[in-house]
């Protein structure tokens, strides 16, 4: 590889990384947290416990729908996975469909608890908030959010490729860490985090793009289809609606239907039930396979006769293209992942988040030493340094504020779920302002310690103010809720450790002390060799 080539890639890596770094940080952090989407929702709704028996819930859901919407056009029941709690029922009345809009709650939506009875729980998005934010962003039309995220993901892919090329000795770098040496330590940390989880970063970025690929690059589809609609009609074929006869007929037992679905899928389980023309002689039960017991995402469906419960037809992703796409989406979302693998996904995601963060700090660390007057940096430096604080320290604080809003907002507040989200973004706004008005070192310390304190205080609040404190959930073996509390404690401790390192760090003593988030220049002697390493 020529020196010129490597150098061109170093520039590309630095500037493409900086342009999208802050949004990438948000995408990475929220994506990582989304591996616990169901667990966070469980934690956010302490009113309902873990599901013991799916059959009980399914029967309860049918009983509820029979009572409130006996003559609906269709019913839908979202069954809980092993990790979630309760079921969600919705229905479509006969006649014109009522549109709830994409983010607005469906007015027919009802929560069925683990005991099969209608349950009331606080209005919250729970883990869905982080999940949606990860690829839709917020406060903007969904499609804009997806384009922004796709744009950043494409930059990430370029940053990965150019980052690998920039490395002269990628494997040596993996084993290199020189703490307490200012910019060089940030570089080593950035490299170690990047190389350690490189296969994960490359996989997650590429499969992320594939998840929404037809939005970003529709040309492969439009080359072969007259319209995108024609493509969707072939890739996700719609079944013709069944005409109701008007003759009533008892419905097949849902328990038996679920049992025969398990048989057809060889041990796979149902995740979603759709019932067309419930209670009519001509009715249909369509069962969709749960996401957690298969890798390949796509249309896995069995259609039953609603009255007799006989299997009518069954579909699964068949062609190589659908399996390749579905497999990549499945790998990205990790819905199939059992607990150990889920932890690895989560930790790799956090490593990616830290990689982006250290890259952003490295940009500053590298340029600080070249500042003619550190007290008066030029505009670009000042802006990046402050935005780094507001993003890297501010976002986790804002996410913690969301969890607090979930605990503290009155249960009967109108649009409560929306206000939980607003609490998060209002907090983020405050951290951004704070980052610009405080001295940089103080701003880092204050925001990081606030996050540490608020994270550690959450499980304590749960212990004192709710009946789902750690001793109770541990004793009950409720892994989702106990695990969330324990993870919050661990994250709080991690933030506390970072605060301690920043506080102990004396600017200008980089040779001895680790963790550098200083406001003053490091000794100039370090400049040359460290720079030579990245840019040579």
């Amino acid at each position: 590889m020529s020196q010129g080539f490597r150098q061109s890639q170093a520039g590309l890596h630095t500037w493409s990384g900086l342009l999208v770094g802050w949004i990438l940080y948000l995408i990475f952090l929220n994506g990582s947290v989304s591996y616990w989407r169901e667990e966070i929702t469980r934690w956010a709704q302490p009113e309902i416990g873990a599901t013991q028996n799916v059959q009980t819930v399914a029967h309860g859901a049918i009983a509820h729908l029979t009572k409130v919407a006996p003559s609906a056009k269709s019913w839908q029941i979202e069954l809980p996975s092993e990790r979630a709690s309760g079921a969600i029922t919705t229905y479509k009345p006969k006649g014109k469909p009522v549109s709830g809009g994409f983010r607005r709650p469906d007015p027919t939506r009802t929560l069925i608890g683990p005991d099969g009875q209608v349950a009331t729980a606080r209005d919250t998005e729970g883990g869905d908030l982080f999940y949606r934010l990860h690829f839709d962003l917020r406060y903007m039309p969904v499609i804009w959010g997806r384009w922004v995220v796709g744009f950043c993901a494409m930059f990430m892919l370029v940053a990965i490729v150019s980052g690998v090329i920039t490395h002269k000795k990628i494997f040596a770098d993996f084993f290199t860490f020189r703490p307490g040496k200012g910019q060089r330590s940030w570089l080593d940390g950035h490299n170690a985090l990047a190389v350690l989880a490189l296969p994960f970063h490359a996989m997650i970025t590429y499969t992320g793009l594939v998840t929404l690929m037809v939005i970003y690059v529709p040309w492969g589809v439009t080359a072969n289809y007259p319209s995108l609609k024609a493509y969707y009609a072939q890739s996700i074929p719609k079944t013709k609606p069944l005409k109701a006869t008007g003759q009533a007929a008892p419905m097949a037992d849902i328990g038996l239907v679920l049992k025969s679905a398990d048989e057809v899928w060889g041990g796979g389980h149902a995740g979603l039930i759709r019932i067309e023309n419930p209670g009519d002689k001509a009715s249909r039960i369509v069962v969709t396979r749960r996401a957690s017991d298969k890798l390949v995402d796509g249309r896995w469906e069995i259609t039953f006769d609603g009255a007799t419960g006989a299997v009518r037809s069954s579909v699964a992703p068949q062609s190589s293209g659908m399996i390749a796409r579905g497999g990549m989406i499945g790998l990205h979302a990790g819905r199939f992942a059992p607990l150990t693998l889920r932890w690895l996904f989560f930790l790799s995601g956090l490593a990616g988040t830290a990689m982006v963060a250290t890259g952003l700090v490295l940009w500053i660390a590298k340029r600080r030493q070249r500042l003619p007057d550190p007290a008066r940096p030029y505009f670009g430096f000042w802006l990046v340094e402050r935005l780094n604080i507001g993003a890297i320290a501010g976002l986790p604080l804002a996410m913690t504020a969301f969890l607090w809003a979930n605990r503290l907002l009155p249960v009967n507040l109108a649009n409560r779920a929306d206000w939980e989200g607003h609490a998060m973004f209002l907090t983020w706004g405050v951290t951004l302002v704070h980052a610009f008005v405080r001295p940089t070192r103080r701003a880092w310390i204050e925001q990081l310690s606030a996050t540490a304190i608020l994270l550690i205080a959450l499980p304590i609040f749960n212990l004192l103010a709710t009946d789902r404190g750690l001793p109770a959930t541990l004793a009950a073996g409720d892994g989702a809720v106990a695990g969330t509390d324990l993870t919050l404690l661990a994250l709080g401790a991690a933030f506390a450790a970072i605060v301690l390192a920043v506080v102990r760090h004396k600017p200008g003593t980089d040779r001895r002390k680790p963790a550098r988030v200083a406001t003053q220049p490091a000794p100039r002697v370090e400049l040359k060799p460290a720079l030579a390493e990245v840019e040579a």
Binding site: Q9, L209, A223, G321, A324
Partner: protein, 96 residues
């Protein structure tokens, strides 16, 4: 000397700006054309051909961006990206 340095800086800036434009816009255009061509000549059903070519398009785009910044000059990068795009577009039109 100072004047020459100024011109050199200005030219470097222009070179980078051109490469950014070529990579982002030209790269996307060439990727779109190559994806269309691939989708039409891929030896599989039209659904699979469309999906596979779209899956591969991101690798192609990334490769084009990386190459645009590695090219000896912005002019050369622009010409090659344009040539790839035009050739693939022509091929795609012929394969329709």
């Amino acid at each position: 000397m100072a004047g020459q340095q100024g011109i050199g800086k200005w030219r470097d800036g222009l070179d980078v700006a051109l490469r950014v434009a070529i990579a982002m816009l030209g790269g996307y255009g060439a990727t779109a054309a190559c994806t269309m061509l691939l989708a039409r000549v891929w030896p599989a059903s039209r659904l699979d051909a469309s999906l596979w070519s779209t899956i591969l398009s991101f690798a192609l785009y990334a490769g084009l961006v990386v190459w645009t910044f590695a090219a000896p000059s912005a002019l050369r990068a622009g010409l090659v990206v344009a040539a790839i795009g035009l050739a693939a577009g022509l091929g795609a039109a012929l394969a329709a």
